[in-house]
């Protein structure tokens, strides 16, 4: 244990019998003190959260709220092994996300009819899907776009790996087969299990990532309809790279805006929209900088430090929260400092890897494990490579096409839809651009869009001489494929094919069976 990267044998932190780690890392005085102060901040934030009576009510009303007890641990998982500026970048991002989610929950519970709120308390609330781009609300500064799905399903799985298990059982008892993607299935399960907050003046649903998410919305819209909450389904084209569908997509945005105006009485505000557009452009620009650094020998913002932050910023925030744009600049500053000093995130980088496919939601910290155990540098992943082109900050007509473009390029779906070119060809292009010698290919066993190209991935990787490491998982359900199995997939490849020894042998076999 110490200041230097790799000085602590991180495997020793795990204890299979326990649900959490034995202790936190010792990162040297300076970094441990820094981490401690950020932990205090998080605890204070959580305590403030629980001082709201409605939040306490919500905690005891909804089973999925119990997962939020694990917030500090979630941050620990993702700051695994980090030091110096990389630790600071991580904490800036995750603390901001935690704060934002706490605000989301507070707003949800304050308007939730299950907790005693009246429908008029929702007059300014628009429900949106998990994984849905929210830029359509940028021009409605008086309205709030809230996603109970994000709070109840998506974030919960980050916090506690098996959080979805109960809801999956519920929905499967209702007759849904177990082979569909567990993400929309979990949302449907939350809805069926009477654990869905009832709020919102209206809802804007969207076909986000896949057939499952499209169909799962049908379960939710039934419940919303039963509570008198009108729903607009925003249809986003599949073949999103084609010119011929852009007008359709833009018209859908116009229709969505019209729907919101009709339901809420609010009027679209172009000034507010263009303010958000500026912040979106800041985010895109800064992310592009981080990715430029990643092309060099000293990447700074990588793995989940780029993924989870950017997907939150791109989709849920979409320029509406100034704090994220400020944090983008902070991150770039920290990253640039570290880049100039040629700082590394692990003792050694043995492989530069592109992380492709849909990563497991219940084990997002496996990237940190890969880096620390095997020196596999997870440069970026598929979900990070979203729309980074600047959008117009003043053209009203172009704005609809920009919004549509961002909807079409929502995380995951910009690769799962759009043809094999965006899934296959782009991968190899990125490998060349970022000098990747390895692809960690997440095989989410129930993701038909990815699995449908399994053979092609293999063939084309072989042709290009790229190490393709298949890592199987079931996204939200660690009962199907546990975390240890994901590690085994990597271990097996590293040992049998590459004949390498781990950087940190204590991490190769760890017992985290019961870990949250």
């Amino acid at each position: 244990m110490g200041k230097a990267i790799g000085s602590e044998k991180l495997g020793k932190l795990f204890n299979g019998k326990a649900r959490c780690r034995k202790r936190r890392e010792w990162r040297g005085f300076r970094d441990t003190w820094y981490d401690y102060t950020r932990w205090v901040k998080i605890i204070w934030m959580l305590s403030k959260f629980m001082m709201h009576p409605k939040n306490v009510k919500g905690f005891f009303r909804y089973r999925w709220m119990v997962n939020y007890l694990a917030v500090p641990m979630m941050i620990d998982k993702h700051s695994f092994g980090l030091r110096g500026n990389h630790l600071r970048i991580c904490r800036e991002e995750y603390d901001l996300i935690a704060d934002d989610v706490a605000k989301l929950l507070t707003m949800i519970f304050s308007a939730d009819q299950n907790l005693g709120a009246k429908p008029k308390d929702s007059a300014h609330i628009i429900l949106v899907d998990e994984n849905e781009m929210t830029n359509v609300l940028c021009g409605f500064p008086t309205l709030q776009g809230l996603s109970w799905e994000t709070a109840s399903s998506y974030v919960c799985c980050l916090l506690k790996g098996d959080s979805a298990a109960h809801y999956l059982d519920v929905v499967q008892q209702m007759g849904l087969p177990g082979d569909v993607c567990p993400m929309p299935a979990t949302e449907a399960g939350v809805c069926i299990d009477d654990d869905m907050p009832i709020l919102g003046k209206c809802a804007v649903q969207c076909n986000t990532t896949c057939d499952g998410s499209l169909l799962g919305n049908g379960v939710i819209s039934r419940k919303l309809k039963a509570h008198g909450i009108p729903v607009f389904q925003l249809a986003v084209p599949m073949r999103h790279t084609e010119e011929g569908v852009q007008e359709y997509a833009a018209q859908e945005i116009r229709n969505a805006v019209k729907f919101i105006e009709e339901q809420t009485g609010a009027k679209w505000d172009w000034n507010a929209y263009f303010e958000c557009a500026k912040r979106i452009n800041i985010g895109a620009r800064e992310c592009s900088e981080w990715l430029e650094m990643t092309k060099t020998d000293y990447p700074q913002v990588i793995g989940n430090n780029i993924l989870l932050y950017r997907e939150t910023e791109y989709m849920a925030i979409a320029g509406k929260v100034p704090a994220f744009a400020e944090t983008d600049l902070k991150i770039t500053k920290l990253a640039t400092e570290s880049y100039k000093r040629k700082e590394m995130l692990a003792k050694e980088y043995r492989h530069r890897a592109v992380i492709w496919g849909v990563q497991s939601q219940f084990y997002t910290d496996v990237l940190a494990w890969m880096l620390n155990c095997w020196g596999i540098l997870p440069m970026f992943d598929m979900l990070t490579m979203i729309a980074l082109d600047p959008i117009s900050e003043n053209d009203k007509e172009q704005a609809f096409y920009d919004m549509a473009h961002q909807y079409e390029n929502m995380i995951m779906r910009n690769r799962t839809h759009g043809g094999y070119e965006v899934l296959l060809d782009d991968l190899w292009r990125y490998c060349a651009e970022y000098r990747a010698d390895m692809v960690i290919l997440w095989e989410h066993i129930h993701c038909k869009a990815l699995n449908g190209m399994h053979g092609m991935f293999e063939q084309q990787a072989r042709k290009r001489g790229i190490h393709l490491v298949w890592v199987n998982h079931d996204l939200f359900d660690p009962r199907i494929i546990p975390r240890a199995s994901l590690r085994q997939d990597v271990n097996r490849y590293m040992r049998s094919v590459l004949c390498e020894e781990p950087l940190d042998p204590s991490l190769e076999e760890i017992d985290d069976t019961n870990n949250w």
Binding site: A18, T32, V66, A70
Partner: protein, 55 residues
Amino acid sequence: MATFLHILLIIAISFACLFMFSLVVYFFNLDMKLTTSLEPLFQKHYDRRKRERNL
């Protein structure tokens, strides 16, 4: 004056103890260990709640 200083001393010692306590909690992950022991109790509460399970 003496009483005031006395009170200040007590406050300072309390803060110091709280600070040391928080350091111990932080480093030995006691916050998470506590929540993992509380979690089963909460789950029982959620199991007991009556639900209207329907499509």
